[in-house]
């Protein structure tokens, strides 16, 4: 199994104030990297650097395949506009954004893929429902469908069970082993039990990154 991405001496932050300092590590194919650490320690900053949302002020991030084909991203639940007029199917299909670009239209096959995923994650009957009408757990499942529809190599999960009920939390964790058989997973979480149970590599981020052996 090869290395998918490598961070070398990365320093990153906001307005000249570094949040992460000299961070170096590699992510191997089909690894499950659990990322934990205190609030303000730089977990989300680390994800932003990896996802290309934040340019590091020092160091390099190298990818073994083009970045646009690499990531499926499941952001925190509280970040979306519940009033936005999009159906659940539209949200899932938006995961094909880089594959389709600006001009290409969705094919029948794309819609079948979205439909099959929604069925798989128990949302088959919600295809045409506005995304804002789903419960927290259902919306998170829809966003998970969006993250995996393009079959990304790396699945980035940013505190995936925050703001959802305990039932969905259990259900979500049960999905992780099957997802990890297809995708490398980077998961930020405060849930130490989940990190310890599923993480093959565990990183503690507090300005610097330290690998923890569990």
């Amino acid at each position: 199994m090869g290395t998918l991405l490598e961070l070398k001496q990365v320093t990153a932050g906001y307005d000249g104030d570094p949040v992460l300092r000299n961070v170096s590590f590699c992510v191997e194919e089909l690894d499950f990297v659990g990322i934990t650490g205190p609030n303000g320690g730089g977990k989300t900053t680390l994800l932003k650097v990896i996802l290309g949302l934040l340019k590091p002020s020092g160091g390099t991030v190298a990818f073994s395949v083009p970045r646009r084909d690499l990531f499926g991203y499941l952001p925190q639940q509280n970040t979306f506009d519940k009033q936005f007029p999009l159906t659940v199917e539209d949200v899932v299909l938006s995961g094909l954004l880089s594959e389709k670009g600006i001009w290409k239209r969705y094919t029948r096959d794309d819609r079948s893929r979205a439909g099959a995923l929604l069925e798989q994650y128990g949302l088959g009957s919600y295809r045409n429902t506005p995304i804002g009408e789903l419960s927290g757990g259902q919306a998170q499942r829809a966003f998970l469908c969006r993250a995996v529809i393009a079959s990304p190599r790396v699945l980035v999960l940013d505190e995936p069970t925050t703001y959802v009920d305990a039932g969905f939390e259990r259900e979500f964790y049960d999905l992780l082993p099957a997802l990890n058989r297809k995708h490398t997973i980077l998961m930020v979480s405060h849930d130490w039990d989940a990190i310890r149970s599923y993480g093959k590599t565990v990183l503690r981020v507090d300005r610097e990154v330290q690998e923890i052996h569990v």
Binding site: T79, G101, Y106, G132
Partner: protein
């Protein structure tokens, strides 16, 4: 009513109302979905600075309004993206600066400026044939833009950060729609005026959202509603001899209120 259609000025007014209705319906759907109503208010009022300056310098006021409108739209968009200044502060700055510049130059221009009043409150009956062709061309560009870009446009609007993780060039449709918003506002000034234009960009969309929560459907319901109600309002204003812009806005409000009440009274909506 048939008699009204024999007058050239009314034919022009009717054509402009239909075309502006289509454009405002489409662009407004994006504005409301993106919660950009306040930004649009800022751009609208900033355009008044251009009107005043062009009037002072002897240029066509609409050209000055277009320049200020585009510059303020791009200014708010770019400066807020850099996150140095809060977006609502920027809107307030452009809003008040535009109005101040406009008032100052109108004061400095000798004589009375009756034409500027039609830009404040709208007077669609004064639309000329070249202006209709201009609005027609812009309407075609807007339709084409939404046909080509509606999908990436709305997906980027829904979750910009997610789009960026796909290295998607979200700025292409974003800059495009920012320019469209600015020019829509300018070309609609004759119909609604600076004071009333926001109603054209929000009420038809509010009506459309009573029927559907899907942007694809809202994209056609909203222009249909806008055109239908605006044309009704135009005829009413001509028959009653009262200002068209205000009548159209009142008609839009009445339709919204009636449909909203009907929806409340429907047992399934409770």
């Amino acid at each position: 009513m048939a008699e009204l259609l024999q007058y050239t000025f009314f034919q022009h007014a009717l054509a402009a109302t239909v075309l502006v209705g289509i454009v405002c319906g489409l662009v407004g759907t994006y504005i409301v979905a993106r919660r950009m109503v306040f930004i649009s208010g800022g751009i609208t009022h900033a355009s008044f600075g251009g009107l005043g300056l062009a009037w002072y310098l002897g240029f066509p006021p609409i050209a000055g309004a277009a320049l200020f409108s585009v510059l303020s739209a791009l200014g708010i968009h770019c400066l807020s993206r850099r996150q140095r200044v809060r977006e609502d502060s920027l809107i307030g700055i452009f809003w008040s600066a535009g109005m101040a510049i406009g008032i100052l130059f109108i004061y400095l221009t000798p004589g009375y400026a009756p034409d500027l009043i039609s830009y404040l409150f709208g007077n669609v009956l004064t639309v000329t044939r070249p202006q209709i062709w201009l609005i027609f061309g812009f309407c075609c560009v807007t339709l084409l833009f939404f046909v080509l870009f509606y999908r990436p446009l709305f997906y980027t609007a829904f979750d910009r950060e997610y789009a960026r993780t796909h290295t998607f060039p979200g700025y292409v449709p974003e800059i495009g729609v920012t320019l469209l918003i600015a020019l829509t506002i300018v070309l609609s000034l004759k119909l609604a005026g600076i004071i009333l234009i926001l109603s054209y960009l929000t009420i038809p969309q509010a009506i459309a959202s009573l029927f559907s929560k899907d942007f694809k459907r809202q994209l056609w319901i909203s222009p249909v509603v806008c055109v239908f109600v605006s044309v009704t309002g135009l005829f009413l204003s001509a028959l009653l001899n009262i200002p068209s812009g205000a009548v159209i806005v009142v008609c839009l409000l009445l339709v919204f209120a009636a449909l909203w009440l009907l929806r409340l009274l429907k047992p399934s909506a409770r």
